[in-house]
Assembly symmetry: C2
Homo-oligomer: 241 residues x 2
């Protein structure tokens, strides 16, 4: 018997219409549909998939064992996450060995800060895999903000807000345009780095882009906490027109 095929599908930033035709086709036809989620949520990727999931499909819901309860710096974090990804990969492998095709749904793009990379790393040597790229959260954000990001020779840096203050400042100094991800409790540190590099006035804050509850404003007008999945955009040089 031939083994099944694993397709890792980028589902885009939130609006189900920002799925690709290819992701929609593979999703509709798949006998097994898997995704990651918080233990207390249905899962953002699953919500985007909506009723494209076949009613007869087997579903594999991979609930993270923890989110912020264990800090990333704790050695236990890596050990327990590795065990979790081993288990997810094992459950997918069981279906593939049985000859069933599997799709794994990912928010945004699978290979840009996606959990699917850990499953891919564990399975791609043994099973045929296809990666279907998705619209990234950042592209959703700059489209909603109507902010052209990079012209000509601009350099774009995508920077996790989890970096320390000095690293944030250095990276921002090197970038013509920047996207800062993973805001959450890092927001004030990021504001300071933007101010120090003369970028605060240009910065745009975008939350839940392309979704019904989306918010978009100048960072200087934004108050209150930022959810982890919000983004700050710093567009590049003004264009030469």
């Amino acid at each position: 018997m031939t083994t099944g095929h694993l397709s890792i599908l980028g589902m885009g930033p939130g609006d189900p219409e920002l799925m690709t035709l290819k992701a929609a086709r593979l999703l509709r036809a798949s006998p097994v549909v898997a995704w990651f989620c918080r233990h207390d949520r249905p899962g953002h990727a699953r919500e985007i998939a909506g009723d494209l999931v076949s009613p007869t499909a087997t579903t594999l819901r991979f609930a993270y064992p923890f989110t912020t309860e264990i800090p990333v710096s704790d050695p236990a974090y890596l050990v327990r996450m590795a065990r979790f990804y081993d288990d997810c990969a094992g459950r997918i492998a069981t279906c593939l060995r049985d000859g069933q095709d599997v799709v794994l749904l990912c928010e945004g793009d699978p290979f840009l800060f996606g959990s699917a990379m850990y499953v891919f790393d564990r399975l791609h040597d043994r099973f045929p895999c296809t990666i279907v790229p998705g619209i990234t959260a950042m592209a959703g954000c700059w489209s909603v903000a109507q902010a052209p990001m990079v012209h000509g020779d601009d350099v774009l840096c995508v920077i996790p807000g989890t970096l320390d203050a000095a690293s944030l400042t250095t990276r921002l100094e090197q970038a013509d345009a920047a996207v800062i991800m993973k805001l959450g409790r890092n927001l004030e540190k990021i504001r300071t780095a933007l101010r120090q590099t003369g970028r605060e006035e240009r910065a745009i804050y975008v939350e839940r882009a392309t979704q019904p509850q989306q918010r978009c404003m100048k960072l200087t007008e934004m108050q209150g906490p930022a959810p982890y999945f919000s983004i700050i955009l710093v567009p590049g040089r003004e264009d030469a027109r």
Copy 2:
């Protein structure tokens, strides 16, 4: 009479199935379809659109007045390109004032190094605009290469190969993961910068990703010239699994 609506559609990296459901819907319904192209080519964005363009649609083909005949550093370049974009925007504005909706097709994503930004800059104050994000060329490349790009706290830099050698080296030193665009005649300079920063062995060369003629190999195994629209990927740190 109400004016028409301008939708700027990201068409993705080449495979027509990597268009979004939203771009396909707006494209099919649009009475006017515009795109940029080289004077001697049908236009890559137009080729991706294929038969989704209505047979009754008015088509606006915007052929660049030159490509490499005038160097970017020549002041005449900016003047003549500005005049060209003025003309494109004017032709779109005529349709919009007549109450016709217009779609402008873009390879990749409209706001990441796209010519559509120059049209948007000229029209968005006067006409309602929607930006539909697209799968970027770089996401097409790393999906084809099956190369997970960024994990955890990695910083990703998108670098035009047109930068001078010293700037290329500095930017590569700052990046955990890098995407180098606009290769063409810059290839040897880029190879040198990658070697100096210890990244040449990890670098992956991808040409025409997601298209039938796609090529993907280690950069060290790649010989001969690189077309302008090829990309080098330097994946980030090995993951922690």
